[in-house]
Structure formats: C-alpha cells, structure tokens
C-alpha cells in the first residue's frame, strides 16, 4: 500500500525501502493506474520533450500574446546572457528565460505542459531544462526530477485545490516552486529528506501569494512570476543541499497554505477584483481590452 496521503507517509515508505522519492512515486503510479513502469516512464519522457519544445519555441519568438500584454521577454533574457552587466550565473539566466518562455507560449494559446497548472507551468520546466542545458544533467535524471515534482504536487493536491480561484497564486506558482525545488534536489543527488526540505522552504517563501491577474488574463503578473519562481526554487534547493532545514514539517506547511487560501478574500483569488488587477494602469488596460474584445468577440 503506497497511496501517500502525506509527506510523512511518503518519507517513511522511502526510508523503509531505501527508495528515492521518484522510485516510490513510480511504484505508486504503477499500482494506481495499472499501467506498466515502461509506459509511465515513456509518458514522462514525452512530457519533458514537450517542455523543451515549448521553451525552444518560446525563446525564439517575438510574437505578442493574444491580448498584446506580454511576449518577447524570454528572448530578451537569452540575449542578456552575452551582456557584460549580466552578473547572475548562466544557469539563473536560463531559468528566468525558460520560465518566461513557457508562460509566453501559454498566453499565445500555444501548447504547454500544465505543471501543476497552466498559470504555474513555468517553474518546473525552467529548472529541469536549464539543468540539462547548463549542468549537462542526463535525460534520465530529468525524468526522475519530473516524477519527484509530480509526487510533491500530488500530495499537496490531496490537501488543497490547486487553483488560483480556490487558494490564490500560492496554490499555483507557490506549489510549482515547491515541486521545482524538490526536483532539483533529486536531480543533484540529494536525499528524500532534503527534497522535502527544499519543497517546504520554497513553498513557505511564496505562501500567501495572491492571484490578482490584470484583466483576468494569465499574463500580468503571471509571466514574470514564472520567470522568477524557477530561480527561487533553485535557491531553496541549494539551501536544502547545504543542510538548511525547514523548521515546520512540510505537511504542516501545506496545511497552513490551505488555511491561508481559505482566509484569503475572494477579491484576491483570481477574480481580478483586487491587487494589481485594480491598479489605475490595470483598470485602464482592462477597459480598452474589453472594448476591443466586445467589438470583435471572434478575436477574444
């Protein structure tokens, strides 16, 4: 029986069997789905391939989003790699560019891998694919990272709904950053404990994050948030690898996040009735946008 309801159960299972988290998650998926291990791994490989394809088309594209509110920043970040003022490491720059690229493709209504949602789909691919490109991490390691990320997200989803409308952005980009942090620790050879500390630290840092999208679009602030969340996940992973621990166990962190989601006012849960969405600039854009979209409902 390996149907993990909590991270505590997962960790106990891993310790008893000397398994890493991705192995435990794979075993569980075989049991739950009735599919073979090979079929599941094949499916994960395809998702990684799609993540890379999305990033590659995203960093190459200047196209604006459907609304015109975003687009082109991923390409800008990649160009900045050559700039003498670029003091952050290439790994960091790539994580930013790849997170931006994924969300920009998303807002162009092109194909992405929801992870765990579309609005939070940038963090995990940013970390996974940047590690492949900069650290020459093998595809097998990336696959183990993605399974680890999925396992983390799956357990969180048993304790709260993963949508901005239900619990704010902490449930999307916040959870994604926890998944990405755990994935990175796994890919760099950390222990199951370190994976969970990384996820807990990363989620704590984005806890309380509200969902206040301008005009209700998954663009501002979602695109830049996804550009940053991979980097902050990598920072949390680095802390965990250095031995930093989360004082609050990850299960309690998740429960606290769920509680905050319930306390969060409706205006800050994706309704575009508060926060950035109600700033003068956002309101002016929103008026223009809806006038335009009413004129041409076929356009939007």
């Amino acid at each position: 029986m390996s149907d993990f309801q909590s991270f505590d159960q997962l960790l106990t299972y891993c310790q008893e069997r000397q398994n890493s988290i991705w192995q435990a998650a794979l075993t569980q998926e075989v049991e739950d789905s009735g599919r073979t291990e090979e079929a599941i791994l094949n499916g994960i490989h395809q998702l990684v391939a799609q993540m890379r394809a999305t990033i590659e088309s995203g960093i190459a594209s200047d196209d604006p989003s459907m609304s015109g509110l975003s687009g082109g920043d991923a390409k800008r970040m990649m160009a900045f790699l050559q700039d003498s003022n670029c003091v952050l490491s290439p790994l960091n720059i790539r994580m930013m560019a790849y997170g931006l690229a994924t969300l920009e493709e998303n807002s162009r209504m092109r194909k992405i891998v929801a992870c765990p949602t579309a609005g939070g789909s940038g963090s995990v691919p940013a970390v996974l694919i940047a590690l492949e490109d900069e650290q020459k991490v093998s595809r097998e390691k990336t696959v183990s990272g993605l399974i680890t990320a999925g396992c983390i997200g799956e357990i969180v989803s048993k304790r709260m709904h993963l949508s901005g409308a239900a619990a704010g952005c902490q449930a999307e980009v916040g959870v994604a950053s926890g998944m990405a942090a755990g994935a990175m620790v796994e890919m760099l050879g950390g222990s199951p404990q370190q994976v969970l500390h990384a996820a807990a630290i990363s989620m704590q840092n984005l806890m309380g994050l509200v969902c206040d999208p301008v005009a209700g679009l998954v663009e501002v602030p979602c695109v830049v948030r996804n550009g940053l969340s991979g980097v902050q996940a990598a920072a949390a992973a680095t802390m965990a690898l250095a031995g930093v621990k989360s004082f609050i166990p990850i299960d309690e962190v998740v429960d606290a996040m769920a509680e905050i989601g319930k306390l969060m006012p409706r205006q800050l849960k994706e309704s575009a009735d508060g926060g950035l969405a109600q700033t003068p600039t956002a309101r002016a854009f929103t008026n223009r946008f809806f006038q335009m979209s009413n004129k041409a409902s076929n356009l939007y």
Binding site: A114, T117, E154, K158, S163, A165, A166, A171
Partner: protein, 227 residues
C-alpha cells in the same frame, strides 16, 4: 484520487488549466453525456468563469470541447470560426456570482437532435481537473476518471442486481456505484464507474439486458476523459 499525470500534465493549449483545459474537458464530458448530436447549447457561466471567461479562453474551450476537440488541439484558438463551420448553435451567458456554486462553474443547457432537453452542471477545480455534479435533476459525481454507465429508470427493486450481474459476466470490476432517486417508486438514477474500458459490443448487451425490464428510460456509457 489524482495520478502523477494529473499534476504533471496535461499537455494543453493555454492560457489556463482551470479555465481553458478544464472548460474543454467539461464540455467533452457534457457532450459524452448527451450521446446524441447537440442542436444547441447555452453555457451559463458562474463566478470566476463569468468574470474572466474571455481572457482565459473559457469560451473557446467550451466550444472546442462541444465539438469534441481535445485540450491540446490547436483549433481551440479558432474555436469560434470552427463553431460556425460545424454549425454549432450556442449562447454564452455570464451570470456573475452564486454562492451555490464552486468558483468555476458552468451549466450546460443543451437541446439535443430529437428535442430532448439536457442540463449538466460542471465544475473546474484546478489543473484541468473537473467534475459534473448534476445531470438534469440528479446529483452525481462524475469526474471522467473511469468509463461510466449511467442509467435512468423507474425506481424499482432489482436494478443494482441486474446491472452488476451483466458487468460481472464480463469480468469487469466496478470502481464505484451510486444510486439516487427523485422520488420513491418514481424515477431513479444509477451511475457505475468501471475499472476497465468497455469491451466492444458491451453497451449493446447491457442495454439488451435492460430491455426486458419495464420503464428503463435510458442507458448511457460515458468514456473516460483523456488527460
């Protein structure tokens, strides 16, 4: 229960898993429940769906799903022109807010080819996950996770026995079974989720088994939703 591929995935056309992919999947479910060509559909949008449906492509997602497009179909972007091409009659009706419903709710009011009215209440709960809570007057919980049989019939003894007998004869395991009724002895509803896809010809033999029983109004098979 959610699997790994519910969290990592689906591969989908953006921009929102709950508002775009979730809308597509709900409409596919509604279409599967109808099981007949749909003459027209009205989408009543509630809460966050009402508020942000245009920006999130919920409208396009609903139309795409009604036409049977998958969440990764590039035609979602052009769903309006496809609806015109495929002669789908529709109306979008944003209804601001209702405490009765979860944040992302859509009520499908369909008129089918033969004039039958069908109402389906659907909810999108994040990451593309969805469930249907109501079909006409019946409370259900249909997530599209399993192939599911739906029966509408006159409330009478022996119906569960009859249904499970036919399913057992095919050695298919029942994942869950729900039975509700509107009124004792009047009209009832059964939903049977199965662990395996329906073998070909199964629905026909299942229907045949119920043909001898008076007052079975309809037997439908709902496919598992693709991820």
């Amino acid at each position: 229960m959610s699997g790994l591929f519910d969290i990592v995935g689906p591969v989908m056309v953006g921009p929102s898993s709950s508002h775009t992919a979730g809308a597509v999947r709900l409409a596919i479910l509604a279409r599967n429940i109808a099981q007949k060509p749909i003459q027209s559909v009205r989408f009543d949008l509630y809460n966050s769906f009402a508020k942000t449906y245009k920006g999130h492509g919920t409208d396009r997602g609903l139309l795409a799903g009604m036409m049977g497009f998958s969440v990764q179909d590039d035609r979602i972007r052009d769903a309006y022109s496809w609806a015109e091409k495929l002669h789908l009659e529709y109306e979008m009706l944003p209804i601001e807010s209702s405490n009765h419903f979860s944040p992302n709710t859509v009520v499908f009011k369909m008129i089918l080819e033969d004039g039958e009215n069908l109402t389906v209440v659907g909810h999108s709960i994040g990451g593309g996950k969805v469930y249907v809570s109501k079909i006409n007057d019946y409370n259900v919980s249909l997530k599209g996770e399993f192939p599911t049989l739906l029966l509408f019939y006159k409330d009478q003894p022996g119906m569960i026995w009859q249904a499970s007998k036919v399913i057992a004869e095919k050695s298919i395991n029942i994942a869950s079974l729900t039975c509700t009724r509107r009124k004792r002895g009047i009209e009832a509803f059964m939903s049977i989720a199965l662990d395996a896809p329906l073998p070909s010809g199964f629905l026909e033999s299942f229907r045949e088994a119920f043909r001898q029983i008076p007052d079975v109004y309809s037997v439908r098979a709902i496919d598992q939703l693709p991820l």
